[in-house]
Every structure is written in structure tokens, then in C-alpha cells.
């Protein structure tokens, strides 16, 4: 929800020119990375996939913004940047811990997904407890008449003059799925960067891999937070602030966010991988 209440013009369509330029940017980024070092291509592709997953995941999360805080719209009563950062960082911590403990890629990204999903599940549960027991409002969506999962009907519970309120079950499920996917994406970015930095920094700084480890972890962590925020905010721009979950008509806009975040991730990934090349040092 905009602070000043304006609506961004967007529509649901895909801008062909922009998309083609975007795909060119992705290919050029991969090409430059290949020239800089063949071993950096896999991390870059991991980063692009991770960014696209974050964009996809954010669209599932029921973001209500300020109207939700006043009980006038369904969803969690805060902005996308905060929610996505929360789910992403929870996922990142889970995944980072799993990677340090096991060193296994698959277990780590699943750990990251579970971390993000768990955070969203707890948030959704407590948000609904607050809505029902503290604000005294039932869960009702304004966008659909019937919950696709439970079959509950909404119109008789929806207050007049609102777009719905509370957090219906479908939004809860969407939130958990969104947390899972976004946490998965964030963890992939983190692990790919960590691998690239652990080996790359040890080579260019001529230091032992164990000595460089805290540096690689910190750098990968800070970069992963940066990537996560860029992708989450771009996805937030796509849904213009609020969405109810996978049943919301705005969900149809998801392809262009996935493309956009892949483009942004590819270019940010190229810049971040410059750190382990000889440029500048």
C-alpha cells in the first residue's frame, strides 16, 4: 500500500521489448562471467535460479500492508520487504546452519526452505490469532467467494466497505508455500556464493581455505541479504504492494516478476563475482 495512496499503472501484460532486452542482459552477464572464469558460471546460474525462485515465492505470501492493519483488507499487516526479508533471513540461517553441519547441498537447501516456511507458518498463525481474538474480525477474502481448499464461503462474513479481512486458510497455505520457495531461493544464492568465495578468495589472496572461511561466510551472507532485498522489492513492485495469495488475480503477473528478478540477479551476480577475479587487485 502506498504511503500516499496512489496506484501504480501496470496492467497484467508482459512488455516484449523490455523482456527481450532483459534476456540479452542475462546472456551478456553469463558471457562476461564465462570470459572471467569458467568456474564462475555455475554460481551465476545458481544465483539467477535463486532470484527467480524468490520472485515466485513472494507472490504466494499474503501481504496486506497498512489496510490489513486496520482490518480493511486480508493478509499479514506489513509490507513485502519486511515479510520477505523475515522469511528469507530465517531460511538463510536454517540453510547456512545445515550447510555448516552437513556440507550437503540438497539437505541445506531443504533446510533453508523449511526455515522460511516455518517462519511464515508461525507469522500466519499469530497474525490470525491477533485478528480473531484481539481485533475480533473473522477471516474473509474479498477476491473469491469460496475458499478453494476448505470450501468455506466468505461473502456473509465480509464487512461492507472492505476488501475482506483476516487471513483465510488459502492465504495461510500460500504464505507457507511462499516461505518455502523464497527460503529455498535465498539458500541457493548463499551456498553458491559461499562456494565461489571459499575457493576463489583463497586463490587470489593466497591464503589457506580454513583461514578464509569466516570472511567467505560473512561476504556470502551480506551479498545474499542484498540479493534477497533487491529481488523481494522488485517482486513487491510487481504486485504493487498487496496480494492475498495464490488465488488473487494479481498472481497472473508472476511471469514478468520471474523474468525481471532473473535479469536483476544475473547482473548483480556478475558484479558480486567480480570479487573473486583479478580485476582491481
Amino acid at each position: 500500500m502506498s504511503a500516499l495512496g496512489g496506484k501504480a499503472a501496470g496492467g497484467d501484460g508482459i512488455n516484449m521489448t523490455g523482456t527481450i532486452v532483459g534476456i540479452v542482459i542475462i546472456l551478456v552477464s553469463i558471457g562476461i562471467t564465462a570470459v572471467l572464469g569458467a568456474s564462475l558460471i555455475v554460481p551465476l546460474i545458481g544465483i539467477i535460479i535463486g532470484g527467480a525462485l524468490i520472485a515466485f515465492g513472494v507472490h504466494f505470501v499474503p501481504v496486506g500492508g497498512a489496510p490489513a492493519a486496520m482490518g480493511q483488507a486480508p493478509g499479514i499487516a506489513t509490507g513485502v520487504a519486511m515479510l520477505a526479508a523475515g522469511a528469507g533471513l530465517a531460511g538463510l540461517f536454517g540453510g547456512a546452519w545445515a550447510y555448516e553441519t552437513t556440507g550437503d547441498f540438497l539437505i541445506s537447501i531443504i533446510g533453508g526452505a523449511v526455515g522460511g516456511g516455518l517462519m511464515m507458518a508461525i507469522t500466519c498463525l499469530m497474525v490470525n490469532a491477533t485478528y480473531v481474538f484481539a481485533m475480533g474480525i473473522p477471516a474473509a477474502s474479498g477476491k473469491i467467494a469460496k475458499d478453494p481448499i476448505t470450501g468455506d464461503t466468505f461473502p456473509e462474513y465480509k464487512s461492507q466497505g472492505t476488501e475482506g479481512h483476516g487471513l483465510p486458510f488459502i492465504s495461510f497455505v500460500g504464505g507457507v508455500i511462499g516461505g518455502l520457495i523464497a527460503g529455498l531461493g535465498g539458500t541457493i544464492i548463499y551456498i553458491e556464493l559461499l562456494d565461489a568465495y571459499s575457493t576463489g578468495l583463497a586463490t587470489i589472496m593466497q591464503a589457506e581455505a580454513t583461514a578464509i572461511q569466516p570472511l567467505a561466510i560473512s561476504l556470502a551472507g551480506i551479498f545474499a541479504i542484498g540479493f534477497f532485498l533487491v529481488n523481494a522489492v522488485l517482486a513487491a513492485y510487481n504486485i504493487t504492494g498487496t496480494i492475498e495469495g495464490p488465488h488473487d488475480p494479481k498472481f497472473k503477473r508472476v511471469p514478468r516478476a520471474v523474468i525481471g528478478c532473473a535479469v536483476a540477479s544475473a547482473f548483480c551476480g556478475l558484479i558480486s563475482l567480480l570479487l573473486v577475479t583479478n580485476i582491481g587487485m
Binding site: L4, A9, P214, S218, L219, A264
Partner: protein, 298 residues
Amino acid sequence: MTAKMEASEGKMPHNKLMTYGLVIAVVGTYLTYLNVLTGVAVFSFFGGIAAVAALWWGSDTIKHLCSYGLGTGVPSAGMIAFGSGAIAMIVGTKFGIASPIVTVILAAILGAVIGYTANNIINMNIPVMIMSLMELAVVGAMTMLGFAAMATGSFEFNQLIIGSMSLSVESAGVAAGGAQTFLVTAIPQYGNSLIGGAALAVIFFLGALALQHPFNACLGPNESQDRTLMLALSCGFLSMIVVAIISFVFIGLLAGTISLIISLIAWFYCYKTYIDLSKRDAYAWLDSKPIIEVGGDQ
């Protein structure tokens, strides 16, 4: 885009403000190089001044961007600024003495690509989008670079990642004369540095909070530029106080104390001026008083 909301007619044009902000940010960051030239660390506080100048400029950019209905709230602009700025800043520090300039260029390119993505692929169609995200990426990068330079006294990658040196003593065998010789090498410790200890993550969020707060707090029909920018300065110096405390670890007691005193005085002045400006803009100002206790049996 039709929903342009006029925030306030700024007294200072945005381009002039941007020029001042960028120049002070770059020059201030370079002034920390006096540390290297003179061999003392007392010039570190210039980094903080540079960061505050960048935040001051960034607050006005956020005002321009967010006066179009983004739909996501003002804080998201601060988050994307620092997300892209952090990437540009860390890579930019690799370029030695040219770091501040390279950081500005890298951040501007990064911001332009992200702005193009938002405007043309995600179809935001906001006229100032690309320019604003470019500016915000530079603001984020320069704020982090300024604060990092303030905390460690240097803006170069090697200084930001090496916390201290430890000596490693190895026996090099018995020399020809029969005496035992030792090979002593200095091993850099990365874990207790600004980046290795992840103090940079604290700087990331200190800057992001200082950038996203001023316009978010001051927006509305009665917004005025000088009040918003004074709050930006106040928030910037508030973050600078925390960075000054972090800097005690890296640059020692004397330089850290100088930074702390400068940031405390500047914050106090800006906060006081901000309260005065708020009183000027307010319709009425009622100082709340404690509830008066009436005596007797009640």
C-alpha cells in the same frame, strides 16, 4: 503515470542537492585517506560525514520516487537502495585508491539495470524510476563505504577484511652455526575484521534505517523539504554514533572518541533543529504534562 502526488515544493532543487550530496560523499570518503598520509587514525570521522551527506541526498531522492504511488511503501525503496548498494560497495573497495569513484560508477550501473528491470520488464512505467534507483544505489553504496571507512579508517578491501595479524613461529631447522633458527611469519586474521566479523551487516541496516525513515515520517500534506532533510541529517548522525562505537575496536580510543564526540554534537544539534522545525510547521504544539495528582481522599 497520472497519480503523481505533489509532496512539497522543495526550496532547493533536487539536482543541486544531488550535486552537493555526491561531491561531499566522495570528497569526505577521500579525506579519510589522510589517515594513511599522516599515519594517525583521527581523520576517520570524515567517512561518517560522507555517509550522512549521501543519506541527506538519498532522502530527497526517496521523496521524488515515492511521491509516485509505488504501492509498496517508502521503506522498500531504502531496502533496494542498500541491497544493490552493498553489492557495488564491497566489489568497489577492491580498487585501492580509486575505490570511491569506482564504487559510484558500479553502483550507478547496477542501479540503472535494476531501474530498467523495474520500469520496463515489471512495467512500473514511472518516469523517474531509472534515475531514482541509480541515485539510490549510489546513496546506499556511498553510505556503506563512508561508514566502513569511518569504522576502520580505510576504504580499501584489504583493510576491511584483515582484523589483526598473528605471528606464526616455525622451526626452520638448525642453521650452519649450530643455532636453532625460527621462521616467523605474520598471518592475517580475517574473523575479527569489519567484513569478516559481519559488522558490515550492522552498517547495512543502520544505513537502511536512516535512509528509509525521514520521508516515511514526514510525508503528508504538510511536508516541507527542510524539515525532512533535517530529520535525515538527524537519523544519519544517530547511525554515525553507533558506527563511532563500532570504530573503537578498529581505530583505537583516541580516534574513536573524536568520532563519537563529533557525531553526538552533530546529532544533538540536528535533532534540536528538527524539533524546532516541527514546532514551526505544526498548527499547535501542546507539551504534555504529567497527570496532576489531586490531594485528598480521591
